[in-house]
Symmetry: C2
Subunit: 750 residues, 2 copies
């Protein structure tokens, strides 16, 4: 999850996670599910939207260790949850002082720290503490945050009187949502988005078997500065080797501060800006937690698909993830070979390699997890029981009889072109030049429609971010590598089976499909394009479609040729989404009615609360992972070589701190990280982990290898989250970074 969430890799990761659109983490997951499978109670399962908290069993939560009335978290638009922060790069965070101080992960502020680093003053390497407010470093656009103001159910506005035709219906829903968002953003300093929840269970009232649309209204703050960060050797201690794994010793924290104009409104960076005063902030605990202790987490998990049917699970298990392993393996090999060319190329492609390797590792882990956790069998069993329950009464048969067969038919229909669709999707991501061209052509195409009728992502509100992407992409662009990736996809396109051919590419390549001919085609396409040049690229962005059609840029011409098949793919995806949207909420309703359990909707990058306990797990027979690691463990693990190279000052402090203030008495050592059964996923990075009193005790930053099927099914046995113990953070701030003023602001000064 760590690297999976790193800023540089974010858009990559989202894409590779299977999100069909770039908007995936900030709007509802198109393929997301609903709610309702009966799960064991007491374990940490459940990512609860604020609107469902009031329906939870307060008494049961108290028994488990919650020491606050649940209404303290959220009631009538107020509560501790107002301390929650969403970083638009995909992370979570929290306010921890009245002056807008924010705790998140180090990897969530990686770009901000990096942009403030130079070879002479490498803050990424050395770490950083601002000694005064004036020293706090501007985030330079990397750490824009959103603070939730309110949310409203807009289901009726979106769903009323939709046309029968599924394509028209998809279009109508998009347009209505665009209007609602535009209306919402008409208010000052407001950024809005709609979450679609396919669970058929509204926050209030009775389940109605429809999807639910919720409008989230946020305050967006752009001026967010870096206050403190550990050296990267601590922030990502263990690197890719430890990533996804326990035991862990990363001190993955950073401190940011939100600034607004003197008038209190969000504003671009200015030295005149003043700290933002949040409606709520979390108290920091110095008492910590131990094995068995109650914990809860507030954050923005991107996406889970806990309510797939067995046929959908089989598709993931037997086709999709094996394909990802295969594709990413080759992709990785190509990138590593390119990196061998020169040290400069190695640097240019390093972030790309990191993303692909992380996605490869994730895909492998998922394949392994599917072998270890029998999700398919579990789903088949649940469906058998549900089928029996439905068959019992005529009314149930009428209401639910078509649901499972209907979803399965949709999956089968989509499978007809699944290989082509995946390749098309990844090819545009893989070749940056093709991506540029596709964006430029798509923008021009959408421009012909009225703003609110355009596809989300191509409306006027998106213009600036698209331009900025086209501009900044230059930083990681290596044309020879890009062409090698293009060629990789070209070969795969040529290997597509009959019935899934991409005719535009077949025609462009011609009849000779020998390796040499494909290489020559890639060479021609790249040498005939000016999109590798930043200025030429930006000059093309915004040109009208007919101007583009007259262009002789080979990559623009290819994008134009591919546009129809891509449009067809999107239309088909929209129709598929509509088919499922008409079915899955009823599936969830059937599960809920048959088991009478309160259910939670899938994660869709909206604010959630999970409840759990500090606990280890057994990753395999004969081995137990204990729930807390220690600073002594860091020292024992240290080899002096990256990624196990803690700074000398840290090792020295470790030797000094054996009986200092930050020692956990039962542990006899300064704690480092802890495990819990909290239900989290990508997007939860940086989330505050709180004790039963709502005090901050840790920062969530990773999941575990054995839980890589966790997005599809929560396992009480294996679903674990990893957090930095806040005492590890405070120890570093205190004994190594000498940040007394920060401890004082956090209310834990000695």
């Amino acid at each position: 999850m760590r690297a999976f969430l790193s800023l540089a890799a974010l858009s990559v990761a989202l894409f590779l996670a299977g999100c069909p659109r770039q908007s995936c983490p900030t709007t509802a997951g198109e393929a997301s599910g609903g709610a309702g499978l009966a799960y064991p109670r007491g374990a940490g399962e459940g990512m609860w939207p604020l609107g469902l908290l009031s329906q939870l069993d307060d008494e049961a939560l108290r028994t488990r260790g919650l020491q606050l009335p649940i209404t303290k978290l959220w009631e009538e638009g107020d509560g501790l949850a107002r301390a929650a922060v969403k970083i638009v790069n995909g992370c979570s965070a929290s306010f921890v002082s009245p002056d807008g101080l924010i705790f998140t992960n180090h990897h969530c502020a990686h770009s901000a720290i990096s942009r403030n680093s130079t070879t002479e003053r490498n803050l990424l390497e050395q770490g950083f503490v601002a000694r005064t407010r004036a020293e706090e470093l501007p985030g330079q656009g990397t750490t824009t945050i959103q603070v939730l103001r309110r949310f409203t159910d807009v289901t009726d506005r979106v769903l009323a009187d939709l046309p029968e035709d599924l394509e028209a219906r998809a279009r109508a829903m998009n347009q209505r949502e665009s209007s609602i968002v535009a209306e919402c953003e008409g208010r000052p300093n407001t950024r809005c988005y709609i979450g679609r929840f396919l669970d058929g269970i509204p926050y209030e009232g009775t389940p109605d078997g429809r999807i639910r649309c919720t409008l989230f209204e946020t305050l967006e703050i752009q001026d967010v500065r870096v206050v403190a960060a550990p050296p990267e050797s601590m922030g990502s201690y263990g690197g890719e080797i430890d990533n996804w794994h326990w035991p862990r010793h990363s001190n993955d924290f950073s401190l940011l501060r939100a600034y607004v104009s003197p008038a209190g409104a969000p504003a671009e960076y200015s030295p005149d800006n003043v700290p933002y005063r949040p409606a709520a902030y979390l108290e920091v605990s110095t008492e910590g937690v131990g094995p068995g202790d109650f914990v809860m987490v507030l954050g923005y998990p991107w996406r889970t698909t806990r309510h797939l049917t067995s046929v959908e699970v089989a598709e993931q298990r037997d086709w999709y993830f094996p394909l990802r392993v295969n594709l990413f393996s080759e992709w990785s090999r190509v990138l590593h070979a390119q990196a061998e060319r020169s040290p400069e190329t190695a640097i240019l492609v390093s972030s790309h390699i990191r993303s692909i390797d992380n996605s490869l590792s994730h895909a492998r882990g998922r394949v392994e997890a599917f072998a270890n956790v029998d999700v398919l069998g579990e789903r088949q069993e649940a469906e058998t029981s549900l089928g029996a329950w439905i068959a019992e009464e005529t009314a149930r048969r009428d209401q639910f009889g078509d649901v499972l067969p209907g979803i399965d038919a949709a999956v089968r229909d989509a499978a007809a072109t699944r290989d082509r669709d995946v390749i098309l999707r990844y090819m545009v991501y893989g070749s940056q030049l093709l991506d540029f061209a596709t964006t430029i052509v798509r923008w021009a195409t959408e421009q012909r429609l009225p703003d609110l009728e355009r596809e989300p992502g191509y409306q006027n509100r998106d213009q600036e971010s698209l331009r900025s992407e086209l501009e900044h992409a230059q930083l990681g662009l290596d044309l020879e590598t890009d062409r090698a990736i293009f060629l990789l996809f070209l070969r795969r396109v040529m290997d597509l089976p009959e019935g899934q051919r991409i005719e535009a590419l077949d025609a462009a390549v011609g009849s000779d499909r020998s390796p040499a001919a494909l290489e020559a085609f890639a060479e021609r396409t790249y040498s005939g394009s000016r999109l590798g040049d930043q200025a030429s690229r930006l000059a093309l962005f915004g040109q009208a479609l007919d101007a583009l059609q007259a262009s002789d840029d080979t990559m623009v011409r290819l994008a134009l040729a591919l546009a129809p098949v891509q449009a067809e793919r999107e239309r088909a995806a929209d129709v598929l989404e509509q088919r499922v949207a008409g079915l899955r909420p009823r599936l969830m309703l059937a599960y809920a009615q048959s088991s009478s359990e309160l259910a939670y909707p899938d994660a869709t990058a909206t604010l959630r609360v999970s409840f759990g306990s500090v606990m280890g797990y057994s990753p395999l027979d004969g081995v137990l992972y204990t729930p807390l690691t220690t600073v002594s463990g860091l020292v024992a693990k240290d080899t002096g070589e990256e990624p196990f190279n803690a700074p000398a000052a840290v090792l020295e402090a470790a030797a000094r701190s054996r009986d200092g203030r930050w020692v956990d008495r039962p542990l006899g050592d300064v704690p480092a990280c802890f495990l819990s059964d909290l239900d989290t996923t990508g997007g939860n990075s940086g989330s505050p982990v709180m004790d039963g009193q709502g005090r901050l005790v840790g920062l969530l930053f990773d999941g575990v290898w054995e839980d890589l099927a966790g997005d599809v099914t929560y396992s009480p046995r294996l679903s674990r989250s990893i957090a930095v113990d806040i005492r590890y953070v405070l120890w570093l701030l205190d004994d190594v970074m000498n940040a007394d003023h920060i401890l004082a602001e956090l209310g834990v000064g000695s």
Copy 2:
């Protein structure tokens, strides 16, 4: 330890373990130490010779869980220890029925099972159960056993009135020992050996600061047959991946039976032979053990060096093991490259590869262990305290003042030619043709002396085993591979520093030492030798030295040329041994006097008892290894692919056995293997692990990775042994192999 002990690899492993002579496992370790460092009480430390048992604190052992008077183990030549069996291939074992039935590890009977296998009837692969006595399979010379009859202190006979000159002294000691052994073997059916213990603490009487020589008299039985063995996929489940590691699921057992002539005397295999009736045998427990339970082990650990000085430890840590890692890495690369040549070559060199890779892995583990366990610091600290204690009184200074400086000087002197000595030693092992030639030349050289004055290993009693080795070596001989290894060593010899040159080789190679010239030299040496041919080789063995000197065989000529430098190396080693033998017993005595702790001598392949408890350990921060694994763990680990490919019948039985007879109630499953803090090392493979009542509860078969410094220092935190739980064995015999008759013979029939 498992592969480290496999029969095929045994002589290799002994050699590579650093034994300076082939006789290393059956006589005292020349470099072994004494006794006396003060160790924590209560942990499993200590490999106790039978003669020291009566001096142990009986009461303390009872508190720890021993439920027998210690005299039941051994008193006046009798006791449970008479059930202990030494397999001359280097393993341990035990009698478990009045009819000579023997339990040992699968890997200890590997060769015996292998020799009884054919491609049509592959018993190694399929496993085997003799349904009648007649079906029991002859061991064909692979599993000769020795049963201890008695031992006698012969220190005075060996040490009385030795000459002052160290070389003469070494010769005199060897000759006296040879006479004593010859006298002992004059008794019928008797095989004898002398163990030298450098601990200065005799079994009885007061410490005298001399080395101790003990004569062991055994009954040697050649006709030992295979009664039952699991499929290799169970016996070495987990293969090289799991080797040395926890968690473990190998069912590493086999059952043998000792046969003697109808008159009760040892005899070659004959269908007329009858089962041997041992003086004692172990009862098999069906109750098993759980965490914390007392256990003890009886066996023949080869060699520990627990009493090295800090200078010797530094030599191991900083020179010897890093050199082994370097050498074995290259050796392994050469072998793997050879194996690529053809499937036939791959089979021929597989056992060689396995040995070298295992030794490489062991050396790497040792380097890692030296980094994790600060043996050097511990020794330096102990020496500082000892130095202070010695300095306190004049008498102590007189008695012990020269000891530490003396040993350190010996180490320094040996270091002057250490690189040359190691290369010479390994080169003769690495090139089989050179090994043959060296043996033939050495035999001829020693023949000129009266039998008992010859070097041990080259006396009349050794002739048959030497001839047999020369004969059977053909099975694993691949001349091209052998030449490649020879070349590897040739290059290393050419890289030796000034002062350590091997002139005979320098002269033979000539002035051109280019890679091509070295290759040509290797080519000439191999093509000019007939030693690759079995008959020619055997014809040369036994020829007189002058006949050999007249031979034109290039490899014989090379061995003749190398003989003087090898003799010089051996003389120097003898002198060194004598220097240390005059010092280390006094060092141990000083430690014993300064701490007043009862000490145990280093392991020297003689019968020992260790006491401990079933317990797990923490290999690193955040991870706990729990002490018992289960059959469910085996199933979870199984991938269907080697080495994690349990037979279908085992997996089916696992599913059936969840509430069967062999389930451990607290565990809720059939147990597989267990960890304990018993003090063991190579040679203990196959050792019976017993409960407090002396009943068999497991078969020891491996150590753990984190304890690879265990031969040098016992760590209560990390020293752990791995045993097969006997219930795992019984379950397999019962539920998979349907061996009711064996369960009945073991007294555990249902």
